[in-house]
């Protein structure tokens, strides 16, 4: 069920919930996955996103998200200048992603000093978002609830070991998705959790043999805990 607070909300800077707030959240997710400051940000925009980019401040919002701003940050309108001042290069390109793609789709490529990340996502209305690809892996992420992404080498026992680490903490796994490029090739696991995983457990996941990287997404796109 969609939350009432997503409907009467978010509290955001205008002008468009899907083209400004949603765009900001999409690149905020990319930043969370990059886990370091970006030096370069490239954005490829589909259909409605590309057509109305400047008018809706989508360009500023995308860059703002990559700078770590939240949707109600009044500095969103100055994001392009702020990025320039920090020496972050950014480019925008229209890209036809085909008739099946959501009209508000964007591919975001962030590069930091030591790593890069690419995501494909869509802004699906009212500021809500969906990530459809992470580094080429098809996923379905709303980034609202706590979630762990694991990239690892496909070998037996990985799912069990990961769920053991999480289970020890008494945290419930809400849902899970496991994908691989091919047998023994790179594999990917998405684990949705009912509560955020403490740092030491994330570290334990990172130390599992065969694990390449582990990403933590904790309510990046709204769904902020109400306490």
């Amino acid at each position: 069920m969609i939350s009432l607070l997503d409907i009467v909300g978010p509290v955001m800077v205008g002008p468009s919930s899907s083209h400004t707030a949603g765009a900001c959240r999409l690149s905020h997710v990319a930043l969370a996955l990059l886990e370091e400051d970006p030096v370069e940000a490239r954005f490829e925009l589909h259909s409605a996103f590309a057509k109305t980019m400047r008018g809706h401040g989508t360009d500023r919002a995308l860059v703002a998200g990559a700078l770590g701003m939240e949707v109600d940050d009044e500095r969103i309108k100055d994001a392009l200048d702020l990025a320039r001042a920090r020496g972050i290069a950014f480019t925008f390109k229209p890209k036809n992603m085909g008739p099946e793609a959501h009209p508000n789709s964007v591919a975001i490529h962030l590069r930091g000093r030591t790593r890069s990340i690419s995501i494909l996502g869509a802004s699906i209305g009212g500021g809500m978002i969906e990530i459809r690809e992470v580094d080429g892996f098809p996923v379905s992420l709303t980034a609202r609830d706590p979630c762990i992404l694991l990239f690892y080498e496909d070998r037996p026992g990985m799912v069990m070991r990961a769920s053991e680490i999480i289970g020890r903490r008494g945290i419930n796994i809400a849902s899970m998705e496991v994908l691989r490029r091919g047998k023994g090739d790179q594999a990917f696991m998405r684990i949705d959790l009912d509560a955020p995983l403490p740092h030491e457990d994330v570290a334990a996941l990172r130390q599992m043999p065969g694990v390449h990287r582990v990403h933590v997404l904790d309510r990046v796109a709204g769904g902020a805990p109400i306490t």
Binding site: S3, G55, N104
Partner: protein
């Protein structure tokens, strides 16, 4: 919201218990999020404060980003103060306040999407106008806001609320329906009446195109919020008088989804049709983006 998926479920739930609509919605959300309902009510009060503030900032005036809009909310309210009104203070305020929020939005000011930014005007605009005219305090007004939010959530369970997916009916149509439900609730309507208010309002926005000039959330969006606010008032007024929507709300929502699917892409936020492609619309776009 396992038991609450549709407007029919809502009417059922309201019938069997003694809880008013706002409590039903807050209880469901509280159960889902595992937080106390009172804490949620508090969050709604905070959002209501931001909404009122966005009306205030919007009325203070100032031009939009592009220079196309700005100052209309102030115009409407000042004209009203002069005494020349066609429709009474409630109507004039509802129009002015709804426009004010969107003017603030067009300046990249802080607003509360309801359900979207482009349709953020009519819920706060109409509820604030009513609360001022009837002397309803914040705590009571927020109950109407919760009902409006709950109505929006029920629609969103079936339909994507964006101009890109469903045209403006899915943004301002839904916003107006939410407002109508909230207004009817504040005016003492029972749950069925509130749902009829929303249904009557939504069905009268079906087919509304999303055709923003130059792709900006300015023309027709800003002034349109004032007009769809009127639909919300009409929806509440007629439903409270006993007018019933022949087509039930759940089916009106289904109709909206299908119309949205049938609409050409040019009328769904791409700025490739409708008002955006009129000679004046094109000229504005070309001037703005220096297209020769």
């Amino acid at each position: 919201m396992a038991r609450l998926q549709t407007f029919a479920d809502l009417i059922e739930l309201a019938r069997e218990g003694t809880r008013p609509l706002d409590e039903i919605f807050l209880d469901e959300e509280a159960a889902e999020r595992e937080v106390p309902a009172e804490r949620l009510r508090q969050t709604f009060l905070e959002r209501w404060a931001v909404m009122k503030d966005s009306v205030r900032r919007g009325l203070a005036g100032g031009k939009s980003f592009s220079g196309l809009v700005g100052g209309d909310a102030k115009r409407v309210i000042e004209f009203t103060r002069g005494g020349d009104i066609a429709g009474g203070h409630l109507v004039a305020k509802a129009i002015a306040y709804s426009i004010a929020v969107l003017e603030e939005n067009s300046r990249m000011g802080v607003i509360v999407a309801a359900p979207t930014a482009g349709a953020a005007g009519m819920v706060p605009g109409t509820l604030l106008a009513l609360s001022e005219e009837r002397g309803i305090d914040d705590a009571a007004t927020v109950r109407g806001l919760v009902v409006a939010g709950g109505f929006g959530a029920l629609v969103a369970a079936r339909a994507e609320l964006s101009g890109a997916a469903g045209g403006c009916q899915a943004e301002q149509g839904v916003g107006a329906a939410m407002a109508a439900g909230g207004l009817a609730f504040l005016l003492g309507g029972d749950s069925e009446t509130c749902v009829h208010a929303a249904a009557l309002t939504l069905q009268n926005t079906l087919g509304l195109a999303c055709d923003p000039v130059a792709g900006l959330v300015e023309v027709p969006c800003v002034v349109r919020n004032g007009f769809t606010a009127m639909l919300a008032l009409a929806g509440a007024q007629t439903a409270l008088a006993g007018v019933r929507s022949v087509i039930p709300m759940d089916e009106v929502v289904e109709a909206m989804v299908r119309i949205g699917e049938a609409m050409p892409r040019s009328l769904k936020e791409t700025a490739d049709g409708g008002l955006a492609m009129t000679p004046t619309g094109c000229r504005i776009r070309n001037d703005l983006y220096q297209i020769k």
